[in-house]
């Protein structure tokens, strides 16, 4: 190993953990406390409004919902002690535990759920994730639009500790939904006292019921969680305090980690290689997100209405090389739209069941391009394509890689237009792009979260892809109660959109690699739970 | 003799900061006759240069009128000033600062002719050479830069520049104060010769009284922006009337040890008051031996007390 780690090993000062250290990165000196890099400030700790991963990470620690995910992303009961599902798989009746308490001393009751779901379904609340309730719950749309009374929403408190939730369709991933932050309960009294405006803005403007409580929150710097003494199951707590730092700079993270100021950091691809060479303990998980190229099918003059041209652009990309040489963080080439970790029917992961749909093939790419050009009557010079991507270093780097591939394989000069995330979304929204490099993280653990994006009417269908066959496949899958049959429909749809029509071309399934110091134990990191310390055994 | 320039109650104020009014020239009326040399003397800061510049039209007067050859010139008018700028020229005190260091001597001298579209290019150059020779330099110097010349030579370049536009009237703003003693006389002689040759009218500003007396026909004495005495140069020396003029004359050291030793000392005490927002009354009152209550209250008017001899003092009626 390198000299760097030897020095650190020899000189780690007097921490209790020194002896147990196997690699020399003992982490922070404080006992019974982890410092984790959260990378950015959680913008929204109001569970009804939150949309982002960082806030989700904190809420997961401080909130208990009906279900929670275990370390394998399997939903397990949390507050729901006993669940009965109706035969049509649309109604869930749950008995709640009676020993759960809010931090303001009130007990957690079924009404807290009813209140939360009704509030989310209220336009005034302006919840970005309202759809995840109103799309699924009975009468959701009508209540949201105000045509029906909130009391008609598919959620009822049978009594204080019995909750009944009714869905519009049978939902195979219902338990997964119950673990999602929008489905968390909210204490009505606290919410009304603090006011909708400020709920969740500061640590004292939030009432929680979970394993940890927020003990310190310095915005944009760090947030500290301390084990909740009133939690109904104190044993689940892995460590007394967890401090989340918010650091922007990847070098700073690496330095801080090596200097023992932090216990867990995410690594860039290059850092992964470096960390391994320094003997740092590196872990890796697939985060169930994918990155893909979406084509603007309305750009007729640039041949993007032609499936062959689109396919050529996709096939020309050596995704294996991208993952191996550029990303280097454990990401794998995409073989379809749905990432490897997404659940499928009958306990077989979806990807395994569906098999490989897409992949790199330079020869075919050239052929497809030729064919496409013939079909459209365009010349290669006419394809003055621009490639929209994020302005982050990673995205630009990936884009440059692809740009070079298009040039060397297809002889096309593609121009990169990096934009800040929000501008990129705005450009996508207004159809002001040729090709865009976009990524999608699942909202729930089901292939549908990836596939319903490309129906004609979906707001996220920025490429304006429209195929009635595809629309029908998705619509059928929505109401199909049999999991296997449903999955078949989805695989057909996936093949259609990525291969036959190539309206969207998947690039890779992303993974996260991270360094972790020796002292950290019982941390769960998966695609659906970026950090979780409440799975202690 | 004909009047060339007439100043009629000319004042020049500068605004220096809020509510502060610096009275550099206060209500001066005088005539300058054709072909004469009018000497202007006074302490530093009394407004001599400002008066000279007002006459030149560089500073528009705050109030009052100026007539040239009997015609009023409105110096706020660009046209008037342009026409006037050919008739009147100025020679400056500082031979170092008054020549643009980035221009050749030739182009400095030619500039005025260029501005006034005098002659064609070739003739202009010819004139430059002539002028250089007139002031005792030679034509090779035309391509050189001012910093290569000594002070006296530069002053002569300044004179050549003023002569280039063939003016009638030249304001000499202390043209010799910055020069060495041994050079001063060169310039004085040159100015005198030129006047004899071309019949120039000079307004000659200086604080060296000996030189002023030597070169001037009439002398104006200024104090704190005011004209306090005006008379023929011999007259003013023979019958000095204003106490300030008297003190001024007495203060000039004579380069002769015996005479210096005999001279009775009459040193003025005190300092010149500030020209900013001046108090009413005679400006000299605070230093004057003869000052009375009246002097402090009422500023004296310039009056002719002897033929051709004007003075502004309550002592003289």
């Amino acid at each position: 190993s390198s000299s760097g780690d030897k020095k650190a090993e020899g000189t780690s000062d007097g921490g209790a953990k020194t002896e147990t250290s196997s690699t020399g990165f003992a982490g922070t000196p404080e006992e019974d406390s982890y410092t984790i890099d959260l990378r950015a400030e959680p913008p929204e700790l109001n569970s009804m409004l939150t949309t982002d991963v960082a806030s989700g990470d904190i809420l997961r620690m401080v909130m208990s919902g009906l279900y929670k995910l275990d370390e394998n992303d399997k939903p397990v009961p949390d507050l729901a002690e006993e669940t009965t599902v109706s035969d049509d798989k649309r109604t869930y009746t749950m008995k709640l535990r009676q020993d759960a308490k809010w931090t303001n001393g009130e007990p957690v009751t079924a009404n807290d759920f009813v209140f939360a779901y009704q509030a989310v379904c209220n336009k005034e609340t302006a919840s970005s994730y309202a759809f995840i309730i109103y799309d699924n719950l009975l009468n959701g749309k009508e209540v949201y639009e105000g045509t029906k009374d909130p009391s008609e929403l598919g959620v009822k408190a049978i009594d204080d500790y019995t909750l009944e939730v009714t869905f519009v369709n049978p939902i195979p991933y219902a338990e997964h939904l119950f673990s999602f932050s929008t489905y968390y309960p909210v204490n009505q009294k606290a919410y009304e006292e603090i006011g909708a405006e400020h709920y969740g803005d500061e640590m004292d403007q939030l009432v929680t019921n979970g394993a940890y409580t927020i003990s310190e929150w310095v915005h944009n710097d760090h947030i500290t969680l301390t084990a909740n003494e009133d939690f109904y199951d104190p044993d689940r707590v892995a460590v007394k305090t967890v401090r989340y730092n918010m650091m922007n700079d990847s070098n700073a993270r690496m330095n801080a980690f090596q200097a023992g100021q932090i216990d867990c950091i995410n690594l860039t691809g290059d850092q992964t290689v470096q960390a391994e060479s320094l003997g740092i303990h590196v872990e890796n998980y697939v985060n169930n997100s994918n990155w893909y190229i979406q084509f603007n099918t309305k750009k007729t003059d640039k041949g993007l209405d032609n499936a062959n041209i689109r396919r050529a652009l996709g096939l020309a990309l050596d995704t294996q090389s991208l993952c191996d040489n550029i990303l280097k963080d454990g990401s794998v080439p995409a073989t379809g739209l749905v990432p490897t970790g997404i659940a499928g029917a009958n306990d077989v992961l979806y990807r395994e069941a569906a098999g490989d749909i897409t992949g790199y093939n330079a020869e075919e790419a050239k052929k497809a391009l030729e064919k496409g050009l013939q079909e459209t009557g365009l010349k290669a010079e006419d394809l003055k394509l621009s490639f929209l991507c994020d302005d982050t270093d990673g995205a630009q780097r990936d884009a440059q890689f692809m740009q070079e591939q298009w040039k060397s394989v297809l002889g096309l000069n593609v121009e990169i237009t990096p934009q800040p995330f929000k501008s990129r979304l705005a450009s996508m929204n207004s159809g002001d792009f040729d090709m865009v490099y976009a990524g999608w993280a699942p909202d729930y653990n089901d292939a549908m979260t990836f596939l319903d994006l490309f129906t004609t009417t979906n707001g996220n269908n920025y490429g304006k892809y429209s195929n009635t066959e595809y629309d029908k496949l998705i619509a059928d899958a929505m109401v199909e109660a049999d999991p296997a049959a449903r999955q078949d429909l989805l695989v057909k749809a996936e093949t259609l959109v990525t291969q036959t029509d190539a309206a969207v071309y998947p690039i890779y399934f992303s993974a996260v690699s991270y360094a972790v110091s020796d002292k950290v134990q019982n941390m769960t990191r998966t695609g659906f739970q970026e950090f979780d310390f409440t799975d202690a055994k | 003799m004909d009047k060339l320039v007439t100043l009629d109650h000319v004042s020049k104020h500068f605004h220096v900061g809020k509510g502060k009014n610096l009275v550099a020239v206060n209500d001066i009326s005088l005539d300058i006759y054709k072909g004469e040399t009018l000497g202007v003397v006074g302490e530093s800061g009394c407004g001599k240069s400002t008066l000279g510049r007002v006459v030149m039209g560089i500073y528009p007067a705050t109030s009052g009128k100026m007539l040239y050859n009997g015609k009023q010139v409105n110096l706020r008018h660009t046209k008037d000033r342009y026409v006037y700028s050919q008739k009147a020229q100025i020679i400056f005190q500082d031979p170092y600062a008054s020549l643009n260091p980035r221009m050749t001597v030739g182009s400095i001298i030619a500039e005025g002719m260029e501005i006034h579209n005098m002659y064609d290019k070739e003739k202009r150059m010819q004139r430059v050479y002539e002028l250089l020779e007139t002031v005792g330099l030679n034509r090779e110097h035309a391509n050189r830069f001012p910093h290569e010349f000594s002070g006296g030579q530069r002053q002569r370049i300044g004179i050549a520049r003023a002569l280039a536009v063939e003016p009638e009237f030249i304001v000499c703003d202390e043209p010799i104060s910055a020069l060495d003693v041994s050079i001063q006389s060169q310039i004085i002689n040159l100015l005198k010769d030129l006047q004899a040759e071309h019949g120039f009218t000079y307004m000659f500003i200086a604080h060296d009284l000996n030189i002023v007396k030597y070169i001037s026909d009439r002398i104006a004495v200024m104090y704190l922006g005011n004209l306090v005495e005006l008379a023929d140069s011999d007259e003013i020396y023979a019958h000095t009337l204003h106490p300030y003029s008297q003190a001024l004359l007495a203060s000039v050291p004579i380069p002769d040890p015996d005479k210096e030793a005999q001279k009775e000392s009459s040193v003025l005490s005190g300092d010149v008051p500030s020209p900013i927002n001046p108090k009413p009354g005679c400006p000299f009152a605070n230093r004057c031996k003869h000052a009375t209550e009246r002097c402090k209250m009422e500023s004296p008017k310039l009056q002719e007390v002897r033929p051709g001899h004007f003075v502004a003092c309550h002592l003289h009626k």
């Binding site: 409004l49 336009k123 949201y144 070098n251 330095n255 994020d390 929204n429 | 900061g17």
Partner: protein
């Protein structure tokens, strides 16, 4: 949710129109643009810069919280830049033409020639990490803004460029002052070199340096964007960088207006200091 590469954070799902409308109403974005602008200006004049949209906090609150950190970092950096810069400048001027002069000016040149983000990263790596690994003692913290040992490196990284500017300026101005007549007078009075330099020269030489304090404050503020980012300091600069990257317009506008006002204030303070140092300037008027 929409994904940012490598940073699976901010969601950006195309929201149903109904949700969009609800959000726009909540943030007052449904009104005509001009009206929004007037409302914004009106509010800004009252010190209300609106709501930072991703986290829903008042921009004023964010500034009130983050600025003190930036300020404390900036003050340290400025003090450092001034004290070191003046010392270097004085030494260079007094020992003009010697090795001391060359050394000081080379140091200063390096300062103006190395961008602060390179400086910051290099300092962090060598003085933060490597020194720690070599000695086992955390002489300088690598990140954060808490103990004294975490405040040295960022302040230094931020100050370095400004220090260089100050020292160069100080040297020039010092040389200028040293050639003034009143220094000759002081020397003629028989004062020692030390007395001349410190009692007579420095105060006069500092004046032109004070005039660049305004621009220097601006430089330090903008430099803080980088340094706070590198050292993970919860200051306004770090916020600003994030705001730019996420196009948080209210935050960008608020910070800009605030910085603008702050700089105007800083310039006022500089004027006051100037008047204090130079007795010729009275606060009511200009120079004589």
């Amino acid at each position: 949710m929409q994904l940012l590469p490598g940073e699976p954070f901010t969601a950006g799902k195309a929201l149903p129109d109904s949700v969009m409308q609800a959000l726009e109403k909540k943030y007052g974005l449904d009104k005509p643009v001009l009206q929004q602008l007037f409302i914004y200006i009106g509010n800004a004049l009252r010190g209300d810069f609106g709501i930072s949209i991703p986290d829903g906090r008042a921009v004023t609150d964010v500034i009130a919280e983050a600025f003190p950190v930036s300020f404390s970092l900036g003050i340290r950096a400025l003090l450092f830049a001034f004290i070191m810069g003046i010392l270097l400048g004085v030494v260079a001027a007094v020992k003009r033409g010697t090795v001391w002069d060359s050394a000081a000016m080379f140091f200063a040149l390096v300062g103006v020639s190395v961008p602060s983000f390179i400086m910051g990263a290099v300092l962090q790596y060598f003085l933060g990490l490597k020194l720690y690994q070599a000695t086992g003692v955390q002489v300088f913290a690598v990140i954060g803004w808490s103990d004294f040992n975490s405040k040295i490196l960022p302040a230094f990284a931020l100050a370095f460029g400004s220090m260089a500017t100050v020292s160069r300026l100080m040297r020039t101005s010092m040389l200028d002052v040293l050639s003034q007549d009143y220094i000759k007078t002081a020397k003629a009075k028989g004062l020692s070199q030390r007395q001349i330099v410190w009692k007579h020269a420095v105060r006069n030489a500092v004046m032109p340096v004070v005039t660049v304090m305004g621009p220097l404050v601006a430089a330090v503020l903008t430099g803080a964007f980088v340094v706070e980012n590198i050292f993970s300091i919860p200051g306004l600069g770090k916020y600003f960088v994030t705001s730019v990257q996420t196009l948080n317009y209210t935050m960008i506008a608020g910070t800009t207006v605030f910085y603008g006002m702050f700089l105007i204030l800083a310039n006022l303070v500089v004027d006051l200091i100037y008047g204090f140092i130079d007795p010729r300037i009275k606060l009511t008027g200009g120079k004589e």
